[in-house]
Structure formats: structure tokens, C-alpha cells
């Protein structure tokens, strides 16, 4: 045993030394050549897909992507259709999370409570979208993008309510006993019940394909890439050493998604909410330390929202960036949250829908706004907002560091753990879509998992532009199929909601205070 340990130590030291000894021009050139190759591959073969998803129409000086309008319109329609549920039933949603509608004596072992469901789902949504996404939105859309992010977050609550309710209602128990749910199932089964089986199948397959691509892109490569970008910013690590970051992250992701070790999953689920607390804590400190500038920052946000000063395309430009990054962050209407929420143990789909509507509020309205305030207060994001200066995670990190240098270390810790947690979440979403298309089976699932880990290394290694565009496009494309189905299935949700509310008022569903 001692000999094995000594051998292993020697090999690892040799490896680590040789990797660092490779700090030579040839290594940089190789990585750079691979980056360019991959980027050009994505540009050549997926450029048409990105253009199609982000097809724009000129509005004033700006090009307005139709997909952004598609998401915004859907959120507005769901808000009106469900009678402004995000405002009228927010109290009930909080009570469900508090367990006031759960019999304390009836809880079975192994049950995931609504509070646990909310925190774990939040760990999937609170992540780099709140840090890097807001940085990117403000770098291109100016402070005014924040206002539109908030609007998108508020309206998106209704989209999330609708999709998560359907996720639980139409979930399926697979032959293995695994619970599977999400848009693939409600689109195919729900629409079949309404006599639209063919359309449902088409939408479900389309969604599943986009979900797999999204899991490799935004849910994986983007995360790994930004995690290494943060290390580069905080510690001046050369970007070509992303391969090491990628290999370490891939090994850990592999252990979790292939190993299925329960304690590892538990640790991940427990750490990430604390990372969110750490991040919010740092934002509160920055805002608190610069309280005298808060008023000016809020003014800049409101003024920028309607004037769009310094933004390409004026206020429409700010609106586009705000809506795009808010959707990327809270995933409302995308359908991914419905996959996560379908695993909860509940008899009432509506309760899960109500719990889920709190997510865009916490994620976008609260946390993204805090990030935006930190960036605006720091004043590093000056016009014209064309994205040529600091952007993404580096803009956010630099803004935090303006108040305290030490924050960049905490931020690096939070970013890496957020990236890791988001990759785990998206591996799950991708796997669900994969098993929907190719069926369950150890070998089939292993292929996906190995591919997923491979893309972690690619994401951290490559300096890309086209891959980021593709990652974005795949996630937004999920919403095309998802929202089309939601329109057709929203009467089902409304019926469930009416029934639930009636039973709450009649006392059939008891409240435990």
C-alpha cells in the first residue's frame, strides 16, 4: 500500500511538473490552434443554427431578436392568463415552502420537502448567470439593462409556474423506477391527451435535441470556460492552462454523474446554497459600504432603461440585453426547471408550480439586481457600452474588487462551485433528454456522461466566440418547443390551479400552522 502511494505521488508530481514545464510557446500555440479550429468548426457548421435562433428584425437602430420577443410575450400572456399569479399567490407559495400545507406527521422517509426542492433548484439557477451574465448584460446594455432584467424576472415567474406544474403532472415512472419528467413528457403526453399526439411528439423530440445541445453548451462549456476565466482574472493564471482546470473539473463531474455516490451529491447540494449566501453577503457589503452611491446607481438603472444612453440601439438595445441575460439566468420558459422539479414528492402539481415561481424572483429580481448595483456603483462600466472593455465575469469581479481586494478570492471560490453545481444540474437535464431519445440503459447513459465530461475539458481549454454563441442559441432554442406546448397546455394548468385553490378554501387541503 505504501509502495502504491509512493508510486502515485511520483507520477503525479512528474505530471504536474511536466504540465507546468510546458509553459512554452509551443504549448500556447497548440492550444491557440485548437481553439481556432474548434471555433471555426462551430462557426462553419452551426452558424446557420445560431442565425436562425437569433433571427432579428430591425427596430429603430437595434436588431431585435425574435426569440427574445417570443419569451417575453409568453411570460406576459401567462401572467395575464393565470391572473397575475406571481403577485396574488406569492404568499401561498412562501407558506408552501415553509411547510404550512404539509402534514408534519405524514412525511415519509426520503421525501424531498418543498423547501429542499426550492434550495436545490436554486442551486441550479443561481450561478454564473447571476455573475457573468449580468456582467455581460451591463457591458453591452448599460445600467438600464438591469430594469429589463427585473421585468423579465417578474413576468418569467408565471412561465416557470406553468412549466413546473406540468412537469409534475405528466411525469413518468421509468421501468428502472426512476422518476422522469419535464417538457419531453408533458409535450408528448399532454398534447396526445388533447388529440395532438403528432405535434406533441415533434415538439418533445425537438426539445430533447436542443436540451442535449444546451447541456453541452451553456450548461457545460460556458461554465467551465468562465470558471477558468475567473481564475485568470483573480490569480493571473494563463488562459492556456484551462486544460488543467478542465481536467480537474471533469474528474469531479465524472465522479458525481457516473459514480452516483450519495454523499458527494449531498455535499454539492449543501455547499451551493451557502455559496449563494456568500455571494449575496459580499454584494450586501459592497452596497452597504457605498450606500451614498446607491441612489445614483438606481437612477442610472431607471434612466438607462428608457433612454439607453451609450447603448447601441438605445433603450431597445438595453432591453434586448436585459431580457437575454435574465432568461439565461433564471431559465424561465426554457423548460429545464420543469425537469428538476418533476422529481419532487408531492400529490399536488400546483404546489410545485407555486414553489418554482419564487425562483425567478430570487434569482433575477434579487440576486441579479444586486450584481447590477455592485457593477453600477463601482463605475467601471462606462459608456459607450459596446462590450469592448471589461465584460462578463471579469467586469463583475473587478467591480467587487473595487471595494475589497479580498473579494476576488471569495468570488473565485463561488464561481468555481457555481460552475460545478450548474454542470451537475445540466448533466441531469441532458441525461433526461438523452434517455428520452435513446432509451434507458447503462451503456447509453455512459456514452452521454463521458461525452459530457469531455466537453468540460473542451470548454475550459478553448478560447471561443462561436461556441459561446452556439451555447446561447441551444438554450434559447429549447424555449421554442417548450413555449409552443405551454400555450396548448395552459388550460390544464388553470384547471389544476382552480381545483387546488377551491380545495384550500373548502378546507379539504389543510393548513398546518
Amino acid at each position: 500500500m505504501i509502495k502504491i502511494t509512493q508510486f502515485l505521488a511520483a507520477v503525479l508530481l512528474m505530471f504536474s511538473t511536466s504540465v507546468f514545464a510546458e509553459e512554452s510557446a509551443s504549448f500556447k500555440e497548440t492550444i491557440s490552434a485548437i481553439s481556432k479550429g474548434v471555433d471555426s468548426f462551430f462557426n462553419d457548421y452551426t452558424g446557420w443554427f445560431v442565425s436562425a435562433v437569433f433571427k432579428s428584425v430591425p427596430i429603430g437602430e437595434a436588431n431585435f431578436p425574435l426569440i427574445v420577443g417570443w419569451l417575453l410575450l409568453a411570460a406576459a400572456i401567462f401572467t395575464v392568463y393565470f391572473g397575475f399569479i406571481q403577485f396574488r399567490r406569492a404568499g401561498m407559495a412562501i407558506d408552501i415552502v415553509k411547510g404550512k400545507y404539509t402534514d408534519p406527521n405524514a412525511q415519509d422517509e426520503g421525501e424531498v420537502s418543498h423547501f429542499q426542492a426550492l434550495t436545490t433548484a436554486l442551486s441550479g439557477t443561481v450561478g454564473l448567470g447571476n455573475i457573468a451574465g449580468v456582467g455581460a448584460a451591463l457591458a453591452i446594455g448599460g445600467p438600464g439593462a438591469t430594469f429589463w432584467m427585473i421585468i423579465c424576472g417578474l413576468l418569467g415567474m408565471a412561465s416557470k409556474f406553468c412549466e413546473c406544474t406540468l412537469g409534475v403532472k405528466y411525469r413518468t415512472v421509468l421501468p428502472s423506477g426512476a422518476i422522469s419528467g419535464g417538457p419531453m413528457y408533458y409535450l408528448s403526453q399532454g398534447l396526445e391527451q388533447r388529440g395532438l399526439g403528432g405535434l406533441g411528439k415533434f415538439l418533445a423530440v425537438g426539445f430533447a435535441l436542443m436540451c442535449i445541445l444546451g447541456s453541452f453548451g451553456g450548461g457545460n462549456m460556458f461554465q467551465a470556460n468562465q470558471a477558468h476565466a475567473m481564475l485568470t482574472y483573480a490569480f493571473d493564471v494563463p488562459s492556456e492552462y484551462g486544460v488543467i482546470t478542465g481536467l480537474v473539473l471533469a474528474a469531479l463531474v465524472f465522479s458525481v454523474i457516473v459514480g452516483g455516490m450519495p454523499s458527494i451529491a449531498s455535499v454539492t447540494e449543501k455547499i451551493v446554497p451557502w455559496m449563494a449566501v456568500l455571494y449575496v453577503g459580499m454584494a450586501v457589503i459592497v452596497i452597504g459600504a457605498n450606500l451614498d452611491q446607491l441612489g445614483a446607481a438606481i437612477s442610472a438603472i431607471f434612466e438607462g432603461a428608457f433612454t439607453g444612453a451609450g447603448v447601441v440601439g438605445g433603450f431597445i438595445g438595453a432591453l434586448i440585453q436585459g431580457l437575454k441575460r435574465a432568461t439565461f439566468s433564471n431559465e424561465a420558459g426554457v423548460g429545464s426547471a420543469a425537469i428538476a422539479h418533476s422529481a419532487v414528492k408531492t400529490k399536488e402539481p400546483i404546489t410545485e408550480g407555486l414553489v418554482s415561481l419564487l425562483e425567478p424572483f430570487i434569482d433575477t429580481v434579487v440576486i441579479c439586481t444586486m450584481t447590477a448595483l455592485v457593477i453600477t456603483i463601482a463605475g467601471l462600466n462606462a459608456g459607450p457600452f459596446d462590450g469592448t472593455g471589461l465584460t462578463g465575469v471579469t467586469l463583475t469581479a473587478a467591480s467587487f474588487t473595487e471595494t475589497a481586494e479580498v473579494f476576488k478570492y471569495f468570488l473565485a471560490l463561488a464561481v468555481i462551485l457555481f460552475a460545478f453545481s450548474t454542470m451537475i444540474s445540466w448533466s441531469y437535464y441532458g441525461l433526461k433528454a438523452w434517455t428520452y431519445l435513446f432509451g434507458e440503459g447503462a451503456k447509453t447513459e455512459l456514452i452521454f456522461k463521458v461525452l459530457f465530461c469531455f466537453f468540460v475539458v473542451v470548454g475550459a481549454t478553448i478560447q471561443f466566440g462561436a461556441v459561446i454563441d452556439f451555447s446561447d442559441a441551444a438554450i434559447f432554442a429549447m424555449s421554442i418547443f417548450n413555449i409552443a406546448g405551454l400555450y396548448l397546455l395552459m388550460p390544464v394548468v388553470k384547471k389544476e390551479l382552480k381545483s387546488f385553490i377551491a380545495r384550500v378554501y373548502s378546507g379539504e387541503i389543510k393548513r398546518f400552522d
Binding site: L12, S16, T17, E109, F235, L252, G260, E269, Y409, L413
Partner: protein, 188 residues
């Protein structure tokens, strides 16, 4: 004050909320001793953490020796120590072999109080659904034992039912106690 305390033992209840999604242990019966042997796959997944942790610690040492980036060395080393410690803590339960020894007439799982073999009155197979938000949910099975004093102790906990059922039968024969299948339909 001296009223007899009655309590109901629910044999259909599982004892552990979580469980691995792989075969973690097998029962080995060797004449007078039956013990639980961890599988190689279980050890390997723990080992990934030890290797990654060790690699990061080595990397941190290299950075410390060859560059002035103290903050990076601390950051990488801190991560390495955390991951390495985590891997070791994961590995430890696998290294503690629970055994039923007819020579000493004791059951010892290196965790709970030792139990005399004659006090073990039955074995139960239970099932549960491990529900995760970030992974596919899956069935998991437990082999538990009941002592004559009403204690229930977990023996096996993994998701390979065929192996668990076979091990349970072998252990019941070894201990000469009845084995009951308390699996139930789980409705989410």
C-alpha cells in the same frame, strides 16, 4: 413512573435515507466468519477524489516553489486538501469491514455497539427511492437486522437487488435466522 413503555417497531421502514447507485459491498462467508467486502467500483469512485486532491496539493507545492503566486498556491492547495480529505472520509466506511464472527459470537460493524450473534432474531429487506434533484432518482435496497432488544441495524445499503437478495439469503442461513422481504410499492 414505572409504567411499561410500549413501542412499535416498523420493520418496513428503511433506516438510511440515502444510498449509492451501485453495488457497494458483497457478503463473503468464510467458515466461521461472514463479512462485508467493499467492491472495487465503490473504492474507485472514492479514489478519484483522493487522486484529484493529491494532484492539486502537488500543483500548489509546485507553484509555491517555482513562482511567487502565494495566493494561487493557497487557493489551489486549499481546494486540494478539501477534496483529498473528502475522498479519505468517503473511503473510510468502505475500509471498515462489518463482520459476523461465530468464533467471538459477535457482530461488529466498527460503528455501532457490538451485538451478540444470539441476539439477532431476524433480517429484513427494505426498499426506498433515492430522489435527487441533480440526478436520476433510483431504487435502493437495505438489508437490516433486528435484535431481541428491538434495535434495528443496517447491514447492506445499495441498489443491486439481485446481489443483496442473494447475500441476505446467505447471511440468514449463516446466522440461522428468518429473512423477510418488506419491499413495498413506492408512490411518489
Amino acid at each position: 413512573m414505572n409504567e411499561p413503555i410500549s413501542c412499535e417497531i416498523k420493520l418496513e421502514r428503511t433506516l438510511i435515507q440515502d444510498g449509492p447507485k451501485f453495488l457497494s459491498h458483497k457478503l463473503i462467508v468464510a467458515e466461521q466468519v461472514a463479512y462485508l467486502k467493499p467492491t472495487i467500483s465503490a473504492m474507485l469512485f472514492c479514489f478519484v477524489y483522493i487522486v484529484v486532491g493529491f494532484f492539486l496539493i502537488s500543483l500548489a507545492s509546485y507553484i509555491l516553489l517555482h513562482s511567487q503566486k502565494m495566493d494561487l498556491a493557497i487557493f489551489v492547495g486549499g481546494f486540494g486538501i478539501a477534496i483529498f480529505t473528502f475522498g479519505v472520509s468517503l473511503m473510510q466506511p468502505f475500509l471498515k469491514r462489518a463482520s459476523f464472527d461465530k468464533n467471538s459470537q459477535l457482530f461488529d460493524n466498527k460503528r455501532d455497539r457490538k451485538v451478540k450473534l444470539e441476539h439477532i432474531i431476524s433480517l429484513q429487506i427494505n426498499n426506498k427511492m433515492v430522489v435527487r434533484k441533480q440526478a436520476l432518482s433510483y431504487y435502493c435496497y437495505e438489508l437490516n437486522m433486528l435484535t431481541k432488544h428491538g434495535r434495528r441495524i443496517n447491514i447492506l445499503n445499495h441498489n443491486n437487488f439481485e446481489q443483496l437478495n442473494s447475500d441476505a439469503g446467505a447471511l440468514a442461513a449463516f446466522l440461522q435466522v428468518p429473512l423477510s422481504d418488506y419491499r413495498r410499492k413506492i408512490i411518489l
